[in-house]
Symmetry: C2
Subunit: 381 residues, 2 copies
């Protein structure tokens, strides 16, 4: 009898161990992944970085239009997409126009009809790289006819959500996003059916606003206002870019409580938060400067390794597929059978080192967390 009870207790203990120490996953199938905010530039930089969308673990890429000059015509967006497709035939490129006076409602109608674009990107003038042709976010009304055209064609409005700096109004890099949020809420009130994305959000204020807008969202209702979150903002704060221009980007990484709010949102699995890397390569010569450092962090080539690291640390790897795959596609209404290649991205536990540099000569780019080794890499199957 004693032996029996002893054996039973041992079996029970073993059972408990099994429950507690579930074998960690070594592979996670993320399906057809989507990076909904990508800068691929043009010319030689485009040649260098375009293939790295797939190398970094992403099948679909939503491409930003802030070339010089910005993309505002069907011809150019079609040609640009062709160039990108040639460089990375298995990547599905979703294209966008740059919001400016060069656009017209008729142009939006036409572009939508032939499927040339999925959305229009709005840059407040002067807040980041190649944003000089942007708009005044204090008054969006001159662009309301464009927003109406987006609305009726079921296209997306992508917002760079920052007010331009103003000494008189006390607007600076740290509060520029928070100060923009009322403008986002007004746009949503004025266009309740328009799908809007607050791109690369960086602050607890922004997360709170997106949560507030979606507070009464029913499960069967499509998301109208979502937010992309980058990989780098999940592990950077102001201390990381103070003195390290390689980590300087716009919007700037903010305070620790902001980073925690971003990690919480990204790893929550909620439908209105999804991945947009905002990977923005600059040559080293534009970073290693004493004045006028270009804003942007290059994360494309190891995007999923960075993300997996963050999700694993907060024990939310099970939500990574939602963030990096399902939520973005669902927001944009992209079906898996519409992509140019339906390979699945599998996150694999294997040491993956980020090189010190990427490219060479004039085109040397220093990637995010250069030289660090991560636990997860990617395979395509």
């Amino acid at each position: 009898m004693k032996l029996e009870r002893y054996c039973l207790s041992k079996i029970y203990t073993l059972f408990q161990y099994t429950l507690r120490f579930k074998m960690p996953e070594t592979e996670i199938d993320l399906g057809v992944t989507a990076d909904m905010h990508v800068h691929l530039r043009d010319g030689a930089m485009m040649e260098l970085v375009t293939p790295t969308v797939r190398e970094g673990g992403f099948s679909i890429a939503y491409i930003m239009p802030n070339l010089v000059p910005p993309i505002t015509t069907i011809d150019r967006v079609v040609e640009y997409k062709k160039d990108l497709q040639r460089l990375s035939p298995k990547t599905t490129f979703l294209m966008s126009f740059y919001l400016s006076k060069a656009l017209s409602p008729e142009l939006i109608d036409e572009a939508a009809k032939i499927g040339a674009i999925q959305g229009v990107k709005c840059y407040p003038a002067g807040v980041t790289t190649n944003s000089d042709a942007g708009v005044d976010p204090n008054d969006f009304t001159p662009f309301y006819p464009i927003f109406e055209a987006l609305d009726r064609n079921n296209l997306v409005l992508n917002l760079h959500g920052e007010k331009p700096p103003s000494k008189n109004e006390d607007i600076h890099v740290l509060n520029a996003e928070s100060k923009f949020l009322p403008a986002l809420e007004k746009l949503h009130r004025d266009f309740p059916n328009l799908r809007i994305i607050l791109e690369h959000c960086t602050s607890k204020d922004a997360i709170d606003t997106i949560e507030k807008i979606n507070a009464n969202l029913r499960d069967d209702e499509p998301v109208k206002v979502g937010a992309t979150i980058t990989a780098h903002h999940l592990s950077l704060t102001i201390d990381n870019w103070a003195g390290n221009p390689v980590n300087f980007c716009k919007p700037v990484a903010k305070l620790p409580h902001d980073m925690r709010a971003l990690v919480e949102a990204a790893t929550s699995g909620k439908r209105y938060f999804f991945f947009g890397s905002d990977s923005a390569p600059h040559p080293l010569s534009a970073k290693a400067r004493h004045v006028g450092v270009c804003a942007g962090v290059y994360t494309q080539s190891h995007a999923l390794s960075y993300l997996a690291d963050v999700f694993e640390k907060v024990e939310r790897l099970d939500n990574l597929k939602k963030f990096a795959s399902d939520n973005g596609k669902s927001f944009y209404g992209i079906k898996d059978d519409e992509v140019v290649n339906s390979d699945k991205c599998v996150l694999v536990k294997k040491p993956t080192k980020v090189p010190e540099i990427f490219g060479q000569g004039e085109l040397t780019v220093v990637p995010f967390r250069a030289g660090e080794e991560f636990a997860w890499g990617v395979e395509w199957r």
Copy 2:
């Protein structure tokens, strides 16, 4: 009668004009000026920048001891002063020790006896250039015997007032100074007679704390706790160093309301606020980097031009002498007849251009607001 009244009214108008349009000053005698926080480095950099103390308009310079290794012996401080004196015979150098375990109360007594130092500088470990040998500001008690020695010898304690960064405690470059202020208040409570300077203060919180400590200061009572304010923090905010490493320094320039509080304090004429440039030259190669930019702004060569610009803009030029001359000397107890050269510094209205660079080759230094022209320059008489 009518004519009489007309004439009287004209005379009255002219009188009013005279009152309103006082002829602007074109010269201001600032007397024997004092910059109470100066980095002159050693070696070739020392040779380059030491003469610029006087060129920038300052007669007295309080010299920081954060060389590599830091200055902690009488022999070295005497030798260092000799080197500086040789390079700039008309400058009065006030010297300091670097607070570390290498100091002893007996050493302080001895150094005070021969007049080798005027104070001891305390660097929290790891917060700025060459601060690795610094102390833990969470607990100053191991250094209380040193502070007692300073107190009995009537020497000054110079504090770099920042807590080291800590992710767990949410301490970052933006609040590191504010978080330090309770430690300053405790030191003052524990050593009510010790003269303490909160160096290069950068935040409204710091200004408010200094005001609070001095709230009941009688006119005939010497200041115990003062603060130095730099030239560059009077015109920089976070937006100026975000993307411009040349303006990156520690403590970092903060938000617009902080800058306004600093300008108000510096130009107030109050005895407990005085000038310390914290001019900290770095070769361009240590500034134009993508990682590990050295913290420090070089202002020495045009220090008074920068200051005059700020004071003139807020119409407080009449208080510049207090800030740049009287208050610092009064705090340190320096009499005009104790200086090595009693030339007076005269601020003169003359276009004064800051060069694009200073020095050459490996020793190229980019000065603050390089290339800009200022309305005021200096002459010695």
